[in-house]
């Protein structure tokens, strides 16, 4: 009974926070039959196809590179491998437009940068850490006895191909899915480099024409594409799910003579990925400029850290409960619930922001709308899928037999949930919290639309300063943002060691 009440409250809370605002926006959008005409456009169809191929290309190349790097950094005794992993994660922590700005400061106005290549380059840099980190995480789940047994008969290349990679398929598929969705919905970089993508069409409808309904309608193909991918992932993973008991010591590969070449490659590659950020650091080197920037931004910085702390906590709690509900198929709505979360994740942030305004901006809900709670609600709408999926991966590895044994011995559901399910998931939940913190810290689109007057966050402050602010000041503010984002990363890597 308690179990059902708890999850009923969860569904009710999430419905009020995220599903109902979006649903009411969708109903309002499609009650206008003329919206079908929006899609009757050749240029729109071409833009959609272009975006689809672009994001598939980004997701493919990023996943292949990320998995390869993950294998190199986790399965070899390369010196400074943790440092490389940490450094390569930095672009993920920063709002994408800052990375784009960094490339622009480094390269200048170049035909190469403005268009496909610049947009792809930024997407590649910022999303590479996703497959990299997920690969490292999943490699720790592999019992070395499988690889050791195979090594008796085969070389490492065959073992990697036929044992290791198949065992980490969930991470590869999940990486691909996340990168695709994030890349497909991202418009700020395409806007910066003037590369016309479908996500930009939705933004233009919203920004230039104040047409919420058309913007919502245009965002639906994004959602449909994401949900189709999710269903494909579900189908694929159902056939290939492996369960393990706990983390293991990784079996290392001896690199032999290739060690120094690989090290050199990693140094050059990491320098390349971080070069735009280094450019911003160099620009911000003046102490006066930096101190002035810090003085003007300490309040938005404090607010950012506070809101992200709160948001990450909510996301971890809701994410864990949601993951449990999906895995156990409570109320038999696992698939629908999961698809809804992915749909929310795929929706452009502008649509989420406006739906929250339309739903919560009433005299009766001022206690939400005029306080930072509305920003937290925005975080939950956008990132709950992320925290849920990561928690789900862990929950899938906890055998049901443990809870069943506890039940047979007389433990209540709550005791079993608290001491077994939650107990075994603690480390993963810390990771979930840190990842949620990173993503909420860099969030700016929803926040820009809903933040109460006078309560801006650091990413918002940087963006508003970019309009005619001095480039050295923008660089200094970007550096402050980067340093603030590195704090949870330090915990994350310390936890891994």
């Amino acid at each position: 009974m308690f179990k059902k009440i708890l999850f009923f409250i969860l569904i009710l809370s999430l419905s009020l926070i995220s599903f109902l605002p979006l649903l009411s926006m969708l109903i309002s959008t499609f009650s206008d039959g003329n919206l079908i005409d929006i899609f009757d456009s050749t240029s729109l169809l071409k833009s959609f196809q272009k975006s689809l191929f672009f994001s598939l290309f980004v997701a493919s190349l990023t996943t292949v590179t990320g998995v390869a790097l993950g294998l190199v950094l986790a399965k070899t005794k390369l010196p400074y491998s943790k440092l490389f992993a940490t450094l390569l994660t930095i672009p993920l922590l920063i709002p994408p437009y800052i990375v784009a700005l960094g490339w622009f400061e480094l390269v200048g106005r170049s035909e190469l940068l403005f268009g496909f290549f610049g947009t792809f380059l930024v997407h590649f840099c910022i999303y590479l850490p996703i497959p990299l980190l997920l690969t490292i995480l999943f490699l720790k789940q592999i019992d070395p006895k499988y690889e050791n047994a195979a090594r008796v008969m085969s070389s490492w290349s065959r073992v990697l191909r036929e044992i290791t990679l198949p065992l980490i398929y969930p991470s590869i598929i999940l990486s691909f899915l996340f990168v695709f969705i994030l890349s497909f919905g991202e418009y700020s970089v395409a806007n910066f480099f003037r590369y016309k993508l479908f996500s930009l069409e939705s933004f233009v409808e919203f920004s230039a024409f104040y047409d919420f309904k058309s913007a919502t309608a245009l965002s639906l193909p994004l959602v449909i594409a994401a949900v189709v991918l999710l269903l494909s992932q579900q189908y694929f993973l159902e056939k290939n799910r492996f369960k393990f008991d706990s983390t293991y010591e990784i079996e290392y590969i001896d690199l032999g003579v290739y060690k120094k070449y690989l090290l050199l490659f990693l140094i050059l590659f990491t320098t390349f990925i971080l070069s735009p950020i280094l450019t911003l650091f160099i620009k911000a080197l003046d102490a006066d400029t930096f101190l002035t920037a810090l003085k003007s931004s300490y309040e938005p910085l404090f607010r950012s850290l506070s809101y992200s702390f709160l948001g990450a906590t909510f996301l971890t709690v809701f994410g864990f409960l949601s993951a449990y509900m999906i895995e156990q198929n409570i109320f038999k709505i696992g698939y629908i619930f999961e698809s809804s979360l992915i749909a929310l994740f795929a929706l452009p942030s502008t649509i989420i922001g406006i739906s929250l305004i339309l739903f919560f901006n009433t005299p009766y809900t001022n206690f939400i709308y005029t306080t930072p709670l509305i920003i937290i609600f925005g975080y939950i709408c956008k990132y709950l899928a992320l925290s849920t999926k990561i928690a789900q991966i862990k929950l899938a590895h906890i055998p049901n037999s443990m809870s069943e044994a506890a039940t047979i011995l007389g433990a209540s559901w709550w005791h079993s949930f608290r001491y077994i399910t939650f107990g075994l998931s603690k480390k993963t939940l810390v990771t979930v919290w840190l990842i949620a913190f990173i993503f909420t810290l860099r969030e700016n689109t929803i926040t820009m639309l809903v933040y109460p007057a006078g309560l801006d966050t650091l990413p918002i402050y940087i963006v508003t300063q970019m309009a005619n602010g001095k480039s050295e000041t923008i660089a200094a503010l970007s550096v402050i943002m980067i340093v603030a984002s590195l704090m949870p990363l330090a915990f994350l890597t310390k936890g891994k060691s």
Partner: protein, 329 residues
Amino acid sequence: MKVLASFLIVLTLLSCSKKDENIVTVYVSEDQVFSEPLLRDFEKETGIVVKAIYDSEESKGTGVMNRLIAEKKNPQADVYWANEPIRAEVLKSKDILEPYTSKNAKDIPSVFKEKNNYWTGFSARVRVFVADSNLKQKPSSILDYTNPIYRGKATIANPLFGTTTVHIAALFTLWGDEKAKEFMQKLKENHVTISSSNGESADFVASKNSEFALVDSDDAMSRLKNKKDITIIYPDQKDDEIGAFVVPNTLMLIKGAKHAKNGKILIDYLLSRESEKKLAFADCAQIPLHDGVKLPKGLKKISDIKVMLVDYEKVAKKLLEIEPFLKEW
């Protein structure tokens, strides 16, 4: 338990909003670097706390607009400070504004005020050319965008956003649809580069990547102050030419504002000669619409500029009409 306690403390701190009735909430589309100092001065001088929401370069002045439209049924803003009058007209058409006649508006020329006082203009920018100072033949008219001698050498900001959209709409009202569309088509044929913003256009010219660009006067003045090698040209100043397009900042009171009294005090303050002087001497170098306001060197008086005579209400209506065309273009 410690984590839960910390979480609850943070939640409480964040959820509590200080009840302070002596506030005014203003949404601002003018760049924060220019508007914020003025709002801070207002706070110091009046003791009224200003809660502001600023727009971003990314949303091109439309982020707070969309917020105002979405919040119509329960407005949070008291005042909107727009950086041009067309957004004001759009809000007026959506019944989001309350008319207010400020005592400081009486000396502002009527062309820069809405006839029923729904909005009032102040501290204007002028659409000017920034050009490479070494250019032998400098542009003098907007029609020079279609001059073959400048093929592939000129830049204009994305006409879907900001003051460029407004300028294009103004041309449509002056020239008529046919001539204006022909002009836009010739822009494309003459390989004019499209930048993402006026600021970027000015930077292209400053970095010699373009020979000239149409920008706002504040973008031009800020590059000049940063000692960039550019020159400013006021286009179409001859007797038989259309004049330069003027874009005033505008102030308006929001209908149903929770702090309407403080909103009016803020509007009066911003419309004063002193405020216009501050904006003239700031990096944005905006031109006062009041007579007799002291100006920095290099800034022209509004009375010394041949101004494009347009009805901003008609420009706003035309802008909505030409949206699909601009999007396709």
